[in-house]
Amino acid sequence: MAIIVDEKTNVLVQGITGNQGTFHTKQMLGYGTRIVAGVSPGKGGQTVEGVPVYDTVAAAMENHQIDASVLFIPAPFAKDAAFEAIAAGVRVVVIITEHIPVHDELEIIAFARRRGTIVIGPNTFGIVSSGRCKIGIPPNQFFVPGHIGVVARSGTLTYEIVANLTANGLGQSTVVGLGGDRVVGLSFVDVLEKFEKDPETRAVVLVGEIGGNAEEEASLFIKKMTKPVVAYIAGKSAPPGKRMGHAGAIIERGKGTFEGKVQALTAAGAGVATLPFEVPGLIKEALG
């Protein structure tokens, strides 16, 4: 078991003939992901790394069973590509693209809700069910199978924490990147619910950051969870009103502060790490 994706997930790559698309198709294949098709308008009939390319998602779906799609599409065209995947009935749509206008994101999420599609991202590293399926861009070598679920808003920070877990003998069930933008498909609670039900996951690491109220909302759910949760929140030193790279990472009108999040998480019974390298120790403590 794992959540959302596993070794049976058939994956489509949208934008497969672009630089990023081609590079990461190779990386994902190297990790063992079942990439069955790619889409690139006007490039139908070609192959990339042995993967057949189609002009449209519908054309790919006529020839393959497809469970998930990953988008390596430039921001101005990402909304259309996401609509195409959702309309074609793909169950999980992973949007790697950053810098997508927020109004496009609002439309993508609204459409996905109507169709019951799971959207991961935008502006995400993707999702990895360690040892089984990687959809996205993280470096392969740090993700090893195990029993820790990880859910995060940011990418590289997650690699840092996953590498720390792996170095301490703690493999992962699934690692989910929600995405760094203000409007993304999944919330912490959506993913925590799945980890709580997943028999393979024994503890969860939540990697949050300042801004918004996603961590506070997660706290309400963590209170009810039977599995231990350890959190790390980035942005303690960030001054109010300055956007720290991610669209969501900004303290506005005194809301979304580090202190508020740590208080909410601590009150919910989660362990909170001050620095990333403390996470494995807190997990081991929580698991006894």
């Binding site: 206008p101 609002l106 470096p139 990418g155 590289t156 991610h246 969501g248 390298f277």
Partner: protein, 371 residues
């Protein structure tokens, strides 16, 4: 991108919303002329990208053109909320019967736009008790329909002509929000003057990611020179007030790097997210930006995924050889092509760290030693 009040009002007027008669000026003489043209009394409002201008003395009233000249002379050049006033908006003083609040913004938690309205306008909406605020999440497929306007009016206690005006205003505000890729459109106060609703203030923030398709909007650029240069390279940079210049790859880990510096008692000079997959040339330019801010120490923290450690190492060596680096550099380098990166650095007399917190502690120690 935040628009100045006068720009927001020009935008509102283009969409047919009523705004006070007035004009933006940059000198006391012009202020007097505009006051004469409008016919006093007038209000002189400092144009800075901040709220709470009234409390900072940035809003003044004048009964004659001469008073308007004096008031403008006082306001121009003063500092409001840390921002120097270089423009004032001179406009008619409204006869106020009531003040409302209305805004449309993006609710990240709900993943939808939200309409916020209150009959208690004029003050900071954060200070209005919840029971006096109407909040309606909007479906982007529907927008603001007439039924929703009727419901908002009912809950605000509005009837008759005012309700009709309100019902016209809300869909228009939503059109501006959507068509201009706004993150926020806010009118506070929305003034009821007789039977007219007048936007007495305008707060409009446009999504930076959508500026490429909003070419007809004015450009407001309040970034520092270093922020501008970094942005041109596609990097995310925020100036802070410490002395340890920081470069990392990824917003989250960059924030984490700032936190760890502060944890060890240091003060970061900036937030520089060099992003993923930034090549050698851009990384070298990013380093030059850091150098231009005259830090005591440079701290580079790289966990290479898409970013290749050898690219970062080559960039550092290139800048060192071509420009010279006269401050200590602490570099932590792991991930993709790590061995190659570490080897390049070693050949050039630089020892890379493997562990993030050890490197951070060293950077803080060096910054102290330089002090």
């Amino acid at each position: 991108m935040k628009l100045y009040e006068y720009m927001g009002k020009e935008l509102f007027a283009r969409y047919g919303l009523t705004v006070p008669r007035g004009k933006m000026v940059t000198s006391p003489d012009e202020a007097a002329a505009v006051a004469a043209e409008i016919g006093a009394p007038v209000v002189i409002k400092s144009q800075v990208l901040s709220g709470k201008r009234g409390k900072g003395g940035g809003i003044k009233f004048a009964d004659t053109p001469e008073e308007a000249r004096e008031a403008a002379a006082q306001v121009l050049g003063m500092t409001v909320q840390g921002l120097k006033v270089e423009m004032v908006l001179v406009e008619e003083k409204l006869a106020i019967d009531h003040e409302f609040y209305v805004a449309i913004t993006v609710d990240g938690a709900a993943k939808a736009p939200v309409l916020i309205a209150s009959a208690q306008g004029g003050m900071d909406i954060e200070e209005v008790p919840d029971e006096f605020i109407v909040k309606e999440h909007l479906d982007v497929c529907l927008g603001v329909q007439p039924y929703l306007c009727r419901e908002v009016c009912r809950r605000l206690g509005l009837t008759g002509a005012v309700a009709k005006e309100f019902g016209r205003l809300l869909p228009t505000l939503y059109r501006i929000f959507r068509e201009k890729d706004a993150e926020l459109v806010e009118i506070n106060p929305l003034v009821l003057s007789g039977e007219k609703l007048i936007a007495a203030d305008a707060k409009v923030t446009i999504d930076d990611e959508a500026l490429y398709r909003q070419k007809d909007l004015p450009v407001v650029d309040d970034r520092t020179e270093a922020e501008r240069q970094a942005h041109a390279l596609g990097l995310s940079y925020v100036q802070l007030d410490g002395n340890i210049a920081v470069m990392a790859n990824g917003a989250g880990i960059t924030m984490g790097t700032l936190d760890i510096i502060q944890y060890y008692g240091g003060a970061p000079a900036n937030f520089l997210d060099a992003g993923g997959g930034t090549g050698m040339e851009a990384t070298a330019k990013a380093l030059e930006i850091l150098l231009s801010t005259n830090p005591r120490v440079i701290f580079i923290n790289i966990f290479g995924g898409i970013t290749r450690c050898d690219d970062v190492a080559r960039a550092l060596v290139k800048v060192k050889q071509e420009k010279g680096i006269n401050v200590p550099v602490v570099i932590r380098l792991v991930g993709t092509n790590e061995e190659e990166g570490v080897r390049i650095l070693r050949e050039n007399g630089i020892e890379a760290y493997k562990v993030m917190h050890e490197a951070a502690a060293k950077a803080v120690e060096l910054a102290r030693a330089q002090g």
